[in-house]
């Protein structure tokens, strides 16, 4: 569904086709607000970014990455060409009591908080890069012909959200709550689809899974 269609549908839902109470610009802003929330609740937008190795053990992603990526799933060491294994500080503590001093070619990673990426061992040289693969915020919808980057059957959730936000501004809280419930229900469906789509493709075999 195109961005312009979403805006039109919201104005119809608000019974304001002439954009008298809520301008097209406000509705567009509310749709993009909902788009950002959908991307956080249902990880449909996958992205990647490269960062340079340093000799530090931790990397502050809030300054190294743009705000597009908010969840790191995989990390690849581009120097060795190998994927880095996700681990935790607990596992490292169980393995070697002075793991913090080791340096070499990083082959494990973990996250602390939302922005700190740790690698083990820390890189012995400040050369080379690692590529982070994760989930992020999609670019906002700007042009009329732009389409949201998730399946069309779930895109009405953006209309629900924008309608909710506009009704809240009008003080119609009860009506707004109904649209918010519809929004969350649709986003849950999208999230369920995204988590199950790999399983749907598998064939069931008696005694196990493919």
């Amino acid at each position: 569904m195109q961005f312009s269609d979403l805006v039109t549908n919201v104005s119809v839902a608000l019974k304001d086709p002439a954009f008298a109470r809520h301008t097209a610009a406000i509705i567009k802003a509310r749709i993009n607000e909902g788009y950002e929330i959908v991307s956080e609740m249902a990880p449909f937008y996958e992205t990647n970014a490269s960062i340079n190795f340093t000799t530090n053990r931790y990397y502050d992603l809030s300054s190294l990455l743009s705000e597009d990526m908010f969840r790191v799933r995989h990390v690849r060491n581009e120097v060795t060409g190998l994927w880095m294994v996700p681990t935790s500080i607990g596992e490292l503590d169980a393995g070697y009591w002075r793991w913090r001093v080791n340096s070499g070619s990083p082959d494990h990673f973990w996250m602390k908080g939302l922005f700190k990426l740790g690698v083990y061992p820390k890189s012995s040289q400040a050369t080379g890069t690692m590529t982070l693969y994760g989930v992020g915020h999609p670019p906002p919808l700007l042009l009329d012909a732009t389409e949201p980057e998730f399946p069309e059957r779930y895109q009405d959730c953006l209309e629900f959200y924008a309608t909710y936000a506009c009704l809240m501004e009008d003080g119609e809280t009860e009506k707004a709550m109904e649209y918010l419930s519809l929004f969350f229900a649709r986003v849950r469906e999208l999230s369920g689809y995204l988590s199950d789509k790999a399983n749907d493709a598998r064939h069931l075999i008696i005694g196990g899974r493919a």
Binding site: E33, E36, I37, E40, M41, Y58, S62, E67, F70, R71, V72, P86, T87, S88, I89, E91, D93, A94, W97, R98, R100, V101, F109, W110, M111, K112, G113, L114, F115, K116, H137, M168, E169, T173, M177
Partner: protein
């Protein structure tokens, strides 16, 4: 990253009071500061490690003002166990007067803003005692200061601030809408906490490995342990 001034604008827009007829700028700024601290404490999104110098003869370390929750203490890059003072007293009644290499840390008995090394360092050393902890943002000196959080997390700050403002006594009070924003804040906190990952979900249970040991299952002695059997050495 946005400033507190931009955050105040977002909150004003959300509560539909751009001309400050219901809440003054100072009130909204106060609500914004409270909301930022609340979100960071509830979600633990900021984590850091810091190193403190050992001072000969001094075991007590004052925690930074932005300290929230401790995750690990280290000395010379080695993990330190965090021990209760009562357990130390049972094993070593004079533990707090001994000098030597730091082998543990005590987090009780001195107040919530202190941590104590066990034993007392006997020499000065730079950056020896490490603390890894969740932290909060620094308190702003002026409304133009940066919030210290990424912009996409600020919407959850706005929800909490709206809850505070709409709950306040006065012309702007709207308890129903306030409750709605409280619920949206709580949902946002659960969402952000879910994003704060240590990659633990990727751990695999592999037969024969120690990647994960199920509760109740541990190393067991063989069934004939301690029994004398004829013909066996």
């Amino acid at each position: 990253m946005s400033s507190y001034a931009a955050l105040v604008d977002l909150i004003e827009d959300r509560v539909s009071d751009p001309n400050h007829l219901l809440w003054s700028v100072e009130t909204i700024y106060m609500a914004a500061r409270k909301a930022v601290k609340r979100l960071v404490a509830d979600t633990r999104i900021l984590w850091t490690e810091e190193y403190f110098d050992d001072v000969a003869g001094t075991a007590l370390e004052t925690l930074p003002s932005y300290f929230l929750f401790l995750t690990a203490a280290t000395w010379d890059y080695t993990n330190l166990p965090i021990i209760r003072s009562v357990d130390l007293i049972r094993s070593e009644p004079d533990w707090d007067s001994k000098q030597g290499d730091v082998q543990a840390a005590v987090f009780d008995g001195d107040g919530s803003q202190y941590i104590r090394r066990v034993y007392i360092p006997s020499v000065n050393a730079a950056d020896k005692f490490g603390l890894e902890f969740y932290r909060t943002v620094a308190s702003p000196a002026a409304i133009e200061d940066e919030v210290g959080l990424l912009d996409w997390t600020l919407k959850y700050v706005v929800y909490y601030a709206c809850w505070l403002l709409l709950n306040m006594e006065g012309e702007g009070q709207d308890v129903v809408t306030a409750l709605h924003y409280k619920k949206r804040y709580e949902m946002g906190v659960e969402l952000v906490k879910g994003l704060v990952s240590t990659c633990v979900p990727y751990e695999q249970v592999v037969h024969g490995s120690v990647a994960k040991i199920a509760p109740g299952f541990g190393y067991r002695l063989p069934p004939n342990f301690g029994r004398i059997e004829r013909g066996r050495r």
